[in-house]
């Protein structure tokens, strides 16, 4: 495992693997991993993968699904990958209604490069590139990507989940399954944001990270389905 103790990526990987197995799609799935902490996601789920350039996973997934419509295709990304450098690819893949699922972990920082500010960093939150706390006037506002995705006609299912408790993990798994089933049916694109912790990036302990997430992130990033059609 190349993830840090307390990181949410591992739990999310397990859920995806379980859903693929339950759907009997192990031999029919192609995953796209990002640049970010999940770059080596392909080491943990036994399917064929492609590892994309930073932010471009939705473009890869678009082409793969269009050329292999009978396959289950999903991208796995971070919040910086999907909501900063890859915003154009994200918006357009979603709005073209690609029959794919985009899953991303929002840990409010750039985990892989050492905890810098991300598009999702909260106002007042300290990171190494906003050491005095994010200020609206200087760094602008945190980005709520699912809320943005909801306004796009191409999206079918948009949800925000978390994996901080057993109950949350169960709900998150159901959401992943729904999105994957949708991807095989068509009818639009699917986006799942999963709130996650990054004790290394946040410079804290795994336990305190969970607490910080509950106290700060849930207020701004409300968990639940945002669009389901």
């Amino acid at each position: 495992m190349h993830y840090c103790p307390g990181c949410s990526h591992g739990v999310v990987h397990k859920l995806i693997a379980e859903v693929i197995a339950e759907m009997g799609m192990e031999e029919q799935t192609i995953g796209v991993s990002p640049v970010g902490c999940a770059v080596f996601a392909y080491n943990y789920i036994d399917i064929d993968w492609e590892e994309a350039a930073h932010g471009r996973a939705p473009a890869l997934a678009t082409a793969i699904k269009r050329l292999w419509p009978e396959r289950l295709v999903f991208s796995y990304q971070g919040d910086g990958d999907i909501g900063a450098i890859g915003t154009a690819e994200t918006v357009h893949a979603l709005n073209r209604g690609e029959h794919i699922t985009m899953i991303f972990v929002n840990n409010t920082v750039y985990g892989m490069t050492g905890g810098q500010m991300a598009p999702t960093t909260l106002i007042g939150q300290k990171t190494v590139t906003c050491p005095y706390g994010r200020e609206e006037d200087i760094q602008g506002y945190p980005l709520r990507i699912p809320e943005l995705a909801c306004t796009l006609d191409g999206t079918r299912y948009v949800t925000r989940q978390s994996v901080h408790s057993v109950a949350a993990i169960r709900k998150c798994k159901a959401a992943i399954k729904k999105a994957f089933m949708n991807s095989m049916e068509g009818g639009g694109s699917n986006l799942i944001e999963i709130l996650g912790t990054c004790s290394s990036g946040w410079k804290t302990t795994p336990e305190k990270a969970n607490q910080w997430m509950e106290e700060n992130m849930f207020k701004f990033y409300q968990v639940g389905d945002l669009k389901d059609r």
Binding site: E26, E27, Q28, T29, I30, V32, S33, V39, F40, Y42, D46, I47, D48, W49, E50, E51, A52, A53, R56, A59, L60, A61, T62, A63, I64, R66, L67, W68, R71, A88, E89, V91, H92
Partner: protein, 373 residues
């Protein structure tokens, strides 16, 4: 569709050739002077005939990454753009070189730097032949000089791309893309079935059917282990050497205007021109002007500008008094000619910039001055 003789633009020929050679997907973004490629594909709707995917993307960045994604599954994928768009694609091309992804990228060059001009140019020679993105990699680059070659090089590029698992570039320019010429389009060849793709590309990410292979396939360019990654880089370099050893293509035209494929030792000439693409077309006229004056000029046209015909240029230098390199840029390929010639005879460059196409008379004037020096 049967083999067919048509009159069309180079850009249109590329589009028709792509469909007919069984291309699976085209991903592109509009830019002059190559928009006719996407426009032609949109008009002929190959998704209704061969099942080929055609998609107008949100940017050239998206387009090249769709090639990465699609090429990584073993499908025949292609994009086209012009200079600025190709600059945006460089990160993706580097990833594809690193992940060893076959694909075809067409650059119908226009003048730069920056937004520059929509008029033709050959100023992306360095970018194309020196690996425009990051890292130690090379890309085979074919330079068409006619509409016929625009069409023929699509299949030729796919062959190279899959043989060596590498992106291949067709380095054209606004002259060849926009001019109309007679052209023979090949017979329609069926797209490979999924089963054929899986059989031909055992390395591709097609979904891991346990019956087909023991290992799953991961398309990636990342490796954080220095020793292993050095070995991988050496493997890439060995592949580039193999391409250099086997895939050099060029055309040689004697002062009489005859084609002399291969035998440079039979060239009897005073001077030689080395030129590629549309500059080579102009240079054919220059040879005739020279002949009328009794000056014997041979033309060597690199068809692959990477790998470069260094050996052939070197042999040619031994048969002439000097070499003029004609390019529609400020002097890029001339550095390769100098490398090949190693000071044996004088090497000069003649080029125009800003989107101006050199006139045969002005090129001949430069040649005449060189002769009388």
């Amino acid at each position: 569709m049967k083999k067919e003789t048509v009159l069309m633009k180079g850009n249109e020929a590329i589009a028709h050739a792509a469909v007919r050679c069984g291309c699976d997907g085209y991903f592109g973004y509009p830019i002059t002077p190559q928009s006719e490629v996407l426009e032609t594909l949109a008009a002929i709707k190959p998704w209704e005939t061969t099942g080929m995917v055609v998609l107008q993307c949100e940017s050239e960045i998206a387009a090249i990454n769709m090639l990465y994604g699609g090429g990584g599954t073993g499908k025949r994928v292609m994009t086209s753009s012009s200079s600025i768009g190709i600059a945006l694609m460089q990160e993706g091309i580097s990833y594809m070189a690193g992940a060893e992804i076959p694909a075809v990228i067409v650059n119908v060059q226009r003048g730069g730097p920056g937004l520059g001009t929509i008029q033709p140019s050959q100023a992306d020679y360095f970018q194309a032949t020196r690996g425009g993105g990051n890292g130690d990699y090379e890309t085979p680059v074919l330079a068409p000089a006619s509409v016929q070659e625009m069409a023929d090089m699509v299949e030729e590029s796919f062959q190279l791309a899959f043989k060596y698992r590498t992106p291949v570039m067709i380095l054209s320019d606004g002259v060849i893309g926009q001019m109309m010429e007679k052209c023979v389009l090949p017979e329609q060849r069926p797209r490979r079935t999924n089963e054929e793709v899986i059989a031909e590309c055992p390395w591709a990410a097609t979904g891991w059917r346990r019956a087909d292979r023991k290992e799953r396939n991961v398309i990636t360019s990342v490796d954080l282990d220095p020793a292993r990654f050095e070995q991988f880089n050496l493997k890439l370099q060995a592949k580039y050497k193999e391409i250099r050893d086997n895939e050099v293509r060029y055309e040689l035209i004697t002062p009489e205007g005859a084609e002399l494929q291969g035998d440079i030792n039979k060239v009897e000439a005073d001077l030689a021109i080395v030129a590629f693409g549309s500059a080579a077309r102009i240079s054919q006229k220059v040879i005739q002007l020279a002949k009328e004056d009794g000056l014997r000029v041979a033309l060597l046209r690199p068809i692959t500008v990477w790998p470069y015909p260094y050996e052939q240029v070197k042999l040619l230098a031994e048969r002439v008094q000097g070499i003029l390199c004609v390019e529609i840029n400020a002097g890029q390929m001339v550095t390769d000619v100098q490398l090949a010639v190693q000071g044996r005879v004088p090497v000069e460059h003649y080029g125009r910039l800003g989107g101006i196409i050199p006139d045969p008379a002005e090129v001949y004037e430069a040649l005449r001055k060189m002769w009388h020096k």
